[in-house]
């Protein structure tokens, strides 16, 4: 008993230097990225990592030194993330996402997109019919902040002016306006996605409600024979913005559908699968909101002619249609 030459002690003494070396590399890679390591160190990394793993495996069966086991477990886990962690090029993944990941996921979720679009349209039609039948509905449906003074009591001239004001705004005001619109709308879009977890009911309500507002607004202008001007004013950015709203709603519905109808998989894994796809859609929609913000804040204010507004709107819509139908087809990827 006197001789305290434990096998586990010898084992540790022989390998400790390699573990320390790995720990040093991992610590540096964790704070400075893998780029902090020299080529030689990068070559050493996988070897040292495998060494640590096999040491852990041996230690589990021969050593009862808990400090050693804890250390090796933590070291192996940390090294794993350095060796196998996601390290795709950021710019490349953004490009891949826009060229393939986003439109592909939208195509695969066409059912949800359709339902979301229907909700928005139904809300719009209801809002239009209600307000056309009885202008009082306008006050019920329209939040005061959005109406900005436009109501059935406004004169036709006031309403027309609202569509064409801002043409003489300073550049910086337009940028501010764009920035505000983007952050506001993208926030709502992300919210609509997150609400999907509550079985999608709040998402549907949000879509219907936005449709109602839009419908009420359209009815107000239709009553004064300003429909053509209104849609020019609305669609120049609205094609992009409403599409993005629909996509966010669709993403929320996708989550809801995964909870309600898990299909062949169990609920949890199905939800995780659907959630990732839906997150992709929302991310793309945030980019669309950014574009819509620019179109609304700057484009619409600078373009005061209804015909050109329509031309721009149609061009943008055609672009999105082509993008979602065609982009990234023919690539096989999960």
């Amino acid at each position: 008993m006197a001789e305290l030459k434990l096998k586990s002690f010898e084992f540790r003494r022989e390998r400790e230097a390699a573990w320390r070396e790995l720990e040093g590399l991992v610590t540096r890679a964790e704070s400075g990225g893998v780029r902090a390591l020299s080529p030689w160190e990068l070559m050493r990394l996988p070897t040292l990592y495998r060494g640590a793993l096999s040491a852990l495996s041996v230690a589990r069966s021969i050593s009862l030194d808990r400090a050693l086991l804890d250390y090796l477990e933590s070291l192996s886990a940390r090294a794993y993330f350095v060796v196998y962690g996601a390290r795709s090029h950021f710019g490349q993944s953004v490009l891949d996402f826009l060229r393939f990941g986003f439109p592909d996921m939208v195509r695969r979720s066409w059912g949800c997109v359709l339902i979301a679009a229907l909700c928005l349209t139904l809300g719009g039609m209801a809002g239009f019919l209600l307000t056309a039948g009885n202008p009082d509905w306008y006050f019920t449906l329209m939040p005061e902040g959005l109406a900005s003074g436009r109501s059935p009591t406004s004169t036709t001239e006031e309403l027309r002016a609202a569509l064409f004001h801002g043409g003489d705004s300073a550049e910086e005001e337009l940028v501010l306006f764009s920035s505000f619109l983007f952050t506001h709308n993208a926030g709502i879009g992300m919210f609509a996605f997150a609400l999907g977890i509550a079985l999608g009911v709040p998402t549907v309500v949000l879509l219907l409600y936005n449709g109602l507002i839009l419908g009420a607004f359209a009815a107000l202008y239709a009553g004064r024979d300003l429909s053509v001007e209104l849609w020019g004013w609305l669609l120049i950015h609205g094609g992009t913005e409403l599409s993005a709203v629909i996509l966010c709603g669709a993403a929320g519905l996708k989550i809801a559908a995964a909870v309600a109808f898990p299909g062949e998989q169990d609920r949890l894994s199905n939800l995780a699968r659907a959630g990732r796809g839906a997150a992709r859609i929302v991310l793309g929609a945030v980019v669309m909101f950014f574009i819509a913000g620019l179109l609304e804040g700057i484009g619409r204010q600078l373009i005061q002619d209804t015909v050109i507004r329509y031309a721009v709107a149609i061009a943008v819509l055609a672009f999105w249609t082509a993008y979602f139908l065609a982009a990234g087809r023919g690539r096989t990827h999960g």
């Binding site: 808990r66 910086e172 992300m190 996605f193 989550i255 939800l271 997150a279």
Partner: protein, 294 residues
């Protein structure tokens, strides 16, 4: 083997991150507006637009960017040794990170907004706020209602949060033992144990002893002497007649080394004794020790 993170740790990490977000936002606002005020020029719209945009990006993508770039950690998570990993065991995907963090709109930002907005409400408004808060509470408290402590974002992203603290390699007690015992002036050979004495405890007790030995707080010495006397009693150990009774710490270190050697040797023969109550048929209780030698 990784362990699930405690709910308290996760809440702490979120609070730290929120604090960081708040600080970043305040610094941006102060810096930008301080610079504008000093310059007294135009261009206020540009600056406001910029601040608005940056604030939105910080608030919405703080978690996403950190979890992507730092392999599933954020500053708050790092401080508390937490990490997000894929529940299926694969690499953490960017879309999982997005999904789990977009959910914070409902789980984190909505309740904060409700709390801030609801403080002054009265009458029906207050009631609606309260109902909303209860409804949102279902999502906020979700980690309490499942075994894996998943929040809604973890469900949607297919992730979970584990505790992965950085462990330091502590000195091997059995290895340094020789030195410690020699330093105390007692030859290692003087503290000896019989097979019967070593057969009393199991791995659990060994690890507890390791923990006790690694203590370095003010009460450590008292704990050592108490544990030492308890062990001496339990295993009926007597100091060799020629020597004065050893100090508690050298005794414990010697016992730790001897016990670990004993248990590790047994382990090599395929007997893993979990704790002192674990007595499989062929294990060495004092009576069966003879069978082993026979």
């Amino acid at each position: 083997m990784v362990e699930l993170a405690e709910r308290g740790e996760r809440a702490g990490a979120v609070l730290i991150d929120l604090l960081f977000i708040l600080i970043i936002l305040i610094v941006i606002w102060l810096a930008v507006f301080g610079a504008t005020a000093a310059r007294e020029g135009g261009g206020f719209g540009w600056i406001l637009a910029f601040v608005l945009l940056v604030s939105f990006l910080v608030r919405s993508f703080y978690f996403v960017v950190f979890e992507l770039r730092w392999q599933g950690t954020t500053p708050g998570k790092r401080l508390l040794g937490l990490r997000v990993i894929d529940r299926a065991g694969g690499p953490l995907q960017a879309q999982s990170v997005f999904a789990r963090n977009l959910m914070r709109e409902v789980e984190l930002f909505l309740p904060i907004q409700l709390l801030l907005a609801g403080s002054g409400a009265t009458g029906v408004d207050a009631l609606i706020q309260l109902l909303m808060l209860v409804w949102v509470g279902v999502f906020v408290l979700m980690p309490f209602f499942n075994r894996d402590r998943l929040r809604a974002g973890d469900l949607v992203g297919g992730t979970w949060v584990v505790s992965a603290p950085k462990a330091k390699l502590l000195p091997d007690l059995a290895g340094d033992n020789n030195r410690a015992v020699q330093a105390a002036g007692v030859a290692p050979a003087s503290i000896e144990f019989t097979e019967e004495q070593l057969a009393i405890y199991g791995i659990y007790e060994l690890h507890t002893l390791e923990e006790v030995l690694r203590r370095d707080d003010v009460n450590a010495a008292a704990a050592w002497s108490e544990v030492a006397s308890r062990i001496q009693q339990k295993i009926a150990w007597q100091p060799p007649p020629a020597l004065a009774p050893p100090e508690p710490k050298p005794f414990l270190e010697a016992f730790y080394a001897a016990l670990r050697g004993h248990l590790e040797r047994r382990m090599l023969f395929g007997v893993r004794r979990r704790d002192k109550h674990d007595r499989p048929e062929n294990d060495t209780t004092s009576g069966q020790a003879k069978n082993d030698t026979a």
